[in-house]
Amino acid sequence: MINSKKTILLLYGGIGDTIMAYEQFKNLDIKLILATNSAKEVLLALDCNKPINNIVLSIGASGLYKYRNVYEMIKIYFYLLVRHRGDKIVALSFMKLWSALPFLNINHFPNSYKDLPRSEAIRRVLQ
């Protein structure tokens, strides 16, 4: 099938988030994972064999790091826009800024998922 949507994952959580994500996506067809160094290390320890590229992002950034985070998010956004437009992009995060960016539909957890088990939230957003 030509031009079928492939999934790109954005992972920048801690060990627990990454393990829960891996449990949900390990049997899915994932084109590429964009992961922070620590998330990548966790995936490699789990013997994840999906392609992984590094990104710089942090959850709960504060002070000046918040600005760096926004800058990094915009860099990732343009990378995705140029290289992966048309693919399904999933950020396993509640970060609202993803939905504020135009042109790309970056799927992420809606606020209503906050009362769900995190693994169920991941499963739903990957569907």
Binding site: I15, G16, I19, A45, L46, G60, A61, F94, P117, R118
Partner: protein, 164 residues
Amino acid sequence: MISICPAVFSKGSTKDLARRDWHIDNWLELSNILNKNNYLHNFILPKDQDDLFISAKASKIFPRDIKNLFEEIKKSSLVVTQDSGYMHIARYYDVKVIALFGPTKPLNFALGKEIIIKGQDCSSIPCHDGIAFTKKSKKCLCMENISVDDVYLNILNNIGQTNV
């Protein structure tokens, strides 16, 4: 071997995460009680936290990297930790894990295989809203409601009465 994985706040982590910490003195007291009753155990923690647990009379394992951390957890017969990555690693490898929860909800972060000890809600609830720590959580005392005796009794219940 029982592995104690305190998972206390470390440099580079989001400061809010410290609200999930059980006090270091509690971990040390738990270790003393285990020693007194001849329960062999070790600590698994980052090297830069050695100073915090300097008085512990148990062996300490400082994993070289994440892969090595996974291997050490896999070797354990029981992991005692708080709501943390250690909990998820143990669960992933079907290692029995006792997890202490304070401000965060087991409903969000535990998957059902964990043995949960939940501290009583403090007056700042909700301390965590399922996404992040709330402003009120700055005064969170949920973890202080978990006693060392409670944790020790849970360990006994989960390893039986024979020494390991």
